[in-house]
Assembly symmetry: C2
Homo-oligomer: 321 residues x 2
Amino acid sequence: MPDKPQNHSVVIGLNAVIIAWDDPVPRFLVRNKHKNINELPFDVFQPLSYRTLEENVHALVDDQAKLELGYIEQLYTFGNRGRDPQEEKGGPRFVSIGYLALLLGKAIEESNAFSETNLWKDIYAFFPWEDWREGQPAILTQINESLEDWAAHATNDHDKQEKRARIQKLFGKTTKEWNEELVLERYELLYEADLIVESLRDKNQELPFPTGIPMEYDHRRILATGIGRLRSKIKYRPVVFELMPSSFTLLQLQHLVEALSGIKLHKQNFRRLLERTGMVEPTGEVSEQTGGRPAQLYRFRAEVMAERQDPNITLPSLSNS
Amino acid sequence: MPDKPQNHSVVIGLNAVIIAWDDPVPRFLVRNKHKNINELPFDVFQPLSYRTLEENVHALVDDQAKLELGYIEQLYTFGNRGRDPQEEKGGPRFVSIGYLALLLGKAIEESNAFSETNLWKDIYAFFPWEDWREGQPAILTQINESLEDWAAHATNDHDKQEKRARIQKLFGKTTKEWNEELVLERYELLYEADLIVESLRDKNQELPFPTGIPMEYDHRRILATGIGRLRSKIKYRPVVFELMPSSFTLLQLQHLVEALSGIKLHKQNFRRLLERTGMVEPTGEVSEQTGGRPAQLYRFRAEVMAERQDPNITLPSLSNS
DNA sequence: AAACTAATACTCTTACTGAGTATAAAATAT
DNA sequence: ATATTTTATACTCAGTAAGAGTATTAGTTT
């Protein structure tokens, strides 16, 4: 007799990482359900009500906060057993799909996106080691010590070497060695090294020092995936413009890219890049709110996507802070 | 009263795109179930038997063909209603997850990977427009005519312009304009333009000319996703070496990269790149099977991944055929 | 008026790509 | 046995872009 369908059925959770730009802070939406509990907006997929997963994600966001989303993309499908406490009580198997979405820049201007009903929290409060805009984050000295400790206690030499190689690659100490895209990989290394509260919940252990705000379930992992994907995406697709208002100064644009990538950029080279690719054009107006010489206002030229095969933003980074 | 769990439960299908290198043909595994029917290896996820999705994928592959896999990665989760005919008959909702895996090069040498029980089919028999190794594929003249026709029949001018822009971007006629990574995007454009059999099954239409071998369900779409991902991946992660035997000549390596990307490369520049990045080192031996001057044998230097932050392969392409 | 803040213009070195030419060392064809 | 073909390998040269600056301009704030 073949398997009964019950043996195969699972429940799908949809989780949304929604990013917004609140100059100079990059934020994401936290579900405002219980105080002191940080969850991504999420919902159980309702196959009877929605034709596609994306439709359900849109509805989920609309429902909990009337938001105008721009770019949206699927991140990853996580299927590990034991991520949801309900399962342990004999509930159904959970598989969760993460989505990344961007809140349109004009939506911020026009809507109540930052009202009290929505909690928009600073991304880097959850990943303090990822923000290099003011130079190397202080927390990295403690992290590196703890990681070295962890590697030193490896069971054998081969394992020890491998761990040190990973640490070196992910947490290299100079700006040149820092690869800002590896957000998820760094989170998972810290998780393995018992430096993330989420991994210690059942172990009766304590953190040696605070390592960012924890989240429910595996939501901080999904958030890490989202930030990593966004950092990689801005380099080969001009998604940043969705987060910007329709007209902006080049310094504002630079600040946004810096906020997302967590890296300071070289101003002159950044401008040279934008000119070369033709991604922006002057509106003709100037902004007087600069506190210095007034700046030209620019708008995004959507046509470049059709004209050029490859309008890359290559993050002209600054090694010295 | 809250929803019953039944309203939420779905069945997950796991689909594997398994790539192998059979010099000079890049192949993928087709399930050998019924003749003249082309399916990817797939299975229903069994949440009671496996702790993770990946474990189930591995088991699925092992079961149907004893294969030694190297790299494996998740591609995408497809949740559109109506992809599986079973659903129409009141069956459960299907959500399918695609995976990409590579058959280890040494596995080919040592195993029965290409035996009669496994059907390894030429990738480009399913996507004849994607193979530019011998210059522009002949089928592209027909495709471009049909696409222009399709755009010309758009309902309004704006729509017409948009369609032409997409065609130009995806099917640009010169080597310089061709972006080999956009395999999925091209497949979906052809699908929309009714040039893919899979989209016509219920429409009682016929193809104007054959456009590659069709597959069951949406498996050709998943295959397109896999090829596109692999083409993009080889540029920033040295995954190609998994498909190669442990020692090889540089021309063999170049042929593999060309086969996967569908593009001819400039030999001297390709070698210069490999030298500069230190990705390979000579074994000291030479191959006499070249039919010309004997070639040095090389092996992959796994250490580069630790040494260098970014050992890119940048496809030094050849514009003239 | 001096100090500060930012915008904008320009330079210089280095790295890498695209596209070759030239030569060497073997196999195969005549 | 010599010519032709095949492949490997060495080297060149122009063009593009990145990294890291200096210098100047045009406003605000003190």
